[in-house]
């Protein structure tokens, strides 16, 4: 098993958001997490990646056999955890090229490897840019600065391709995308899917799951998963909305 979250309770400013969250993810799987606004989906992403301000009051996040809740965000990242941000941050003055080279070399240093040679790095950039249809001029610009919504999300997937994580969380990667950009992003993710990694896709809409077909669909409500199923569950949600979930007894 790659990731096993056990009875996770997470609070922000003393308010409990995740209330006993459980999830197991195996290598090679894609899990979709759906649910209405405010049920703790983004808090889950923050807890997995180690964001400051999210207090884990109890429970465990076992990743590759180790509880990672005390690890710093950069260590988790170098262990292979990646988050495609719902709102990618603009960082004026840092070029994507410089950013990716720094990130890639940080990971290599962590793995005890030498820095990536310049030629090899540029080759990899070119290769991965094609994957998400990113224009060359974009990578010379500052990270996300002045990017459109679609460009920002493509840039997230591009970074994911560059860093080749073992476990990736895609937090509402579909929001703000038109159908063409959605296809590009989904194709990028599909190209990276393998038996050696796994994905958790957080989304409100079934539409993304037409392109990134999940092995499992989970419905979150009030800080925990209330229903799990196959990809058919997403269609059921699309049809019925979320209201029926709210009455669903998790212990039934």
């Amino acid at each position: 098993m790659l990731l096993n979250i056990k009875d996770l309770h997470v609070s922000i400013h003393g308010k409990e958001i995740l209330k006993g969250f459980n999830l197991s993810v195996n290598y090679g799987e894609v899990h979709a997490i759906m649910g209405p606004n405010g049920t703790g989906k983004s808090t889950l992403a923050a807890a997995i990646t180690g964001r400051e301000g999210y207090e884990i009051t109890s429970g465990e996040i076992i990743y590759k056999g180790k509880n990672i809740i005390d690890l710093a965000p950069d260590v988790r990242a170098n262990e292979g955890i990646f988050l495609s941000f719902q709102y990618p941050v603009e960082i004026p003055g840092v070029s994507i090229t410089n950013f990716m080279r720094t990130a890639l070399n940080a990971k290599r240093e962590f793995m005890g490897e030498a820095p990536i040679p310049a030629g090899e790095f540029l080759k990899r950039m070119e290769e991965k840019k094609k994957l998400v249809d990113i224009q060359s001029k974009l990578t010379n610009r500052s990270v996300n600065e002045g990017f459109s919504g679609g460009e920002k999300k493509k840039n997230e997937i591009f970074q994911m391709a560059m860093l080749e994580p073992t476990f990736a969380v895609l937090d509402e990667t579909d929001s703000g995308l038109d159908i063409d950009a959605l296809k590009v992003v989904a194709n990028g993710v599909n190209a990276l899917r393998s038996e050696d990694n796994a994905f958790v896709v957080i989304t409100h809409y079934q539409r993304l799951l037409d392109y990134i077909v999940p092995d499992f669909v989970h419905v979150m409500y009030d800080g925990r998963i209330v229903k799990s199923g196959g990809k058919g569950l997403a269609l059921e949600l699309e049809e019925k909305g979320y209201d029926w979930i709210k009455d669903y007894d998790v212990n039934r």
Binding site: P92, A103, S142
Partner: protein, 472 residues
């Protein structure tokens, strides 16, 4: 000689004493009007004394501890016994520059080259030598902008400067080579050095001037420099000031600029290191369609203090000005930004912008930022703004989520923060060098003493700057 009640500090007494003792030698000027200016300077100084925090303009920069120290005032002229290019060798690729030097307050060159005319007609050299060879230029310009203005250090500088740098660019001369002045101090005791510069750009002329203040040892020093700059019609000056001094040194700069119509001024003040650094610029736009673009960057830590006082006076209509100052302050460092835009009643269609942004890395660091507008014209567009904050936590997490360590992520964000200023450097090899210096400074491995700041760039090029102290 009687001293007024304003002479309270040991340094005030040393300054007046130094003038009395040396007015017959190092404070003698070949030009009578300058001798008179020195005399007026010392009289003013006796009346007002050194600036203290009682003065509004000095409220946030306290030099009183410095005034209590014993200083050797000025220094004798060093003997030139080593070619300048033997002392330092510039190795920045593609950066076309003529290098000149001031050593301990004196123009450092062979006697016959104290003032010289370059191939393109530009006159460069010692301000003392200029008084003898070009008295008409001195008559026309010297001391016509610099004023005591209630500031005793200006008065002391007028009386006690030893030498300085002079540049005259004739009409229609566009200098392809930049002029670089390296101001060095290598005294072995507490020394106060006062210098005076004059820069004149004729009509339609163009010059890039790089002014580097360097310490080459860790000795305490107190440096004052007053500079007068004249830009005639359509002249264009790019002025870069690089400040990389030891933590025991105080530098007080005051520059007055007069801009005639159509002239273009770009100033970039890059403060890397120094105990106390104060930069004052007073820019007067007296002709229409002139532009002044003044920017600065400061990276301070430890107990360092930086103070930028920028005053732009829009005296004529249709002029533009912008000020952008950005800095990072760490540890107990403190900073001051005082940006003042004055728009006279006739200066219609003025466009004037001002921005100061700061990052405080620790709660013990501080910044006093005072953007200020005074507008008497009714058809103008002016804006000002100041921000003080910490590094963006969202950006920090974003970088760390990609595997970059917290310390490296912080460095990257600080570096990114100041690139808005360093990107304004138009000479590419210089910008690359400065970029490199910023990174080194932020990593804490910028050497300040044994290298000229420009020579620590491109790592694959060996640094070849050496000063043999025993031979100077």
């Amino acid at each position: 000689m009687s001293l007024s009640n304003n002479m309270n500090y040991p340094l005030e007494l040393s300054l007046t004493k130094s003038y009395e003792e040396n007015r017959g030698n190092i404070y003698t000027s070949p030009h009578p009007s300058i001798s008179l200016a020195r005399k007026n300077g010392i009289e003013d100084f006796k009346k007002i004394g050194l600036p203290t925090t009682k003065l509004e303009k000095w409220r946030t920069t306290n030099l009183s501890d410095l005034y209590k120290k014993e200083f050797t005032i000025g220094d004798n002229k060093p003997v030139f016994n080593k070619e300048i290019n033997e002392i330092f060798h510039c190795n920045v690729h593609g950066f076309n520059t003529n290098v000149f030097a001031l050593l301990n307050g004196w123009y450092y060159s062979p006697e016959e080259e104290q003032i010289q005319e370059l191939d393109n007609g530009i006159i460069v050299g010692s301000i003392n030598a200029a008084q003898k060879k070009y008295p008409e230029l001195i008559d026309k310009y010297f001391n016509s902008l610099a004023k005591t203005d209630g500031n005793g250090l200006n008065a002391a500088n007028a009386a006690l400067f030893t030498d300085g740098f002079f540049i005259h660019v004739p009409d229609n001369v566009v200098s392809e080579k930049a002029i670089q002045l390296i101001k060095m101090v290598n005294r072995e005791n507490n020394t106060m050095i006062n210098t005076r510069n004059l820069i004149v750009l004729g009509k339609n002329s163009k010059l890039s001037f790089l002014h580097c203040d360097d310490s080459i040892n860790q000795q305490p020093g107190f440096l004052t420099t007053n500079t007068e700059i004249f830009l005639h019609e359509n002249a264009s000056l790019d002025l870069y000031k690089l400040q990389n001094l030891n933590n025991n040194t105080t530098l007080v700069n005051s520059s007055c600029v007069q801009q005639k119509s159509g002239s273009d001024l770009k100033i970039n003040v890059l403060t890397f290191n120094g105990g106390v650094i104060r930069n004052e610029f007073i820019v007067d736009l007296i002709g229409e369609n002139a532009n002044a673009d003044i920017s600065g960057m400061y990276l301070m830590d430890d107990n360092q203090h930086v103070d930028n006082q920028i005053k732009v006076i829009h005296s004529a209509p249709n002029c533009t000005s912008s000020e952008l100052f950005k800095g990072v302050l760490d540890d107990n460092a403190s900073g001051v930004f005082n940006g003042y835009i004055y728009v006279a009643r006739d200066a219609q269609k003025t466009l004037a912008f001002q921005r100061n942004a700061n990052i405080l890395m620790k709660s013990t660091a501080s910044i006093d930022t005072m953007p200020f507008l005074e507008i008497y014209a009714d058809d103008v567009k002016c804006s000002h703004g100041a921000t003080v904050g910490q590094l963006d936590n969202d950006a920090l997490f974003y970088l760390m989520q990609r595997g970059i360590s917290e310390s490296n992520a912080k460095l990257l964000l600080m570096y990114a923060f100041v690139t808005e200023v360093t990107n304004k450097i138009t000479i590419q090899p210089l910008q690359d060098s400065i970029d490199d210096m910023v990174k080194k400074r932020l990593r804490g491995d910028l050497s300040i003493c044994e290298k000229c700041v420009l020579h620590c760039s491109t790592p694959d090029i060996p640094v070849e700057f050496e000063i043999d102290m025993s031979k100077i």
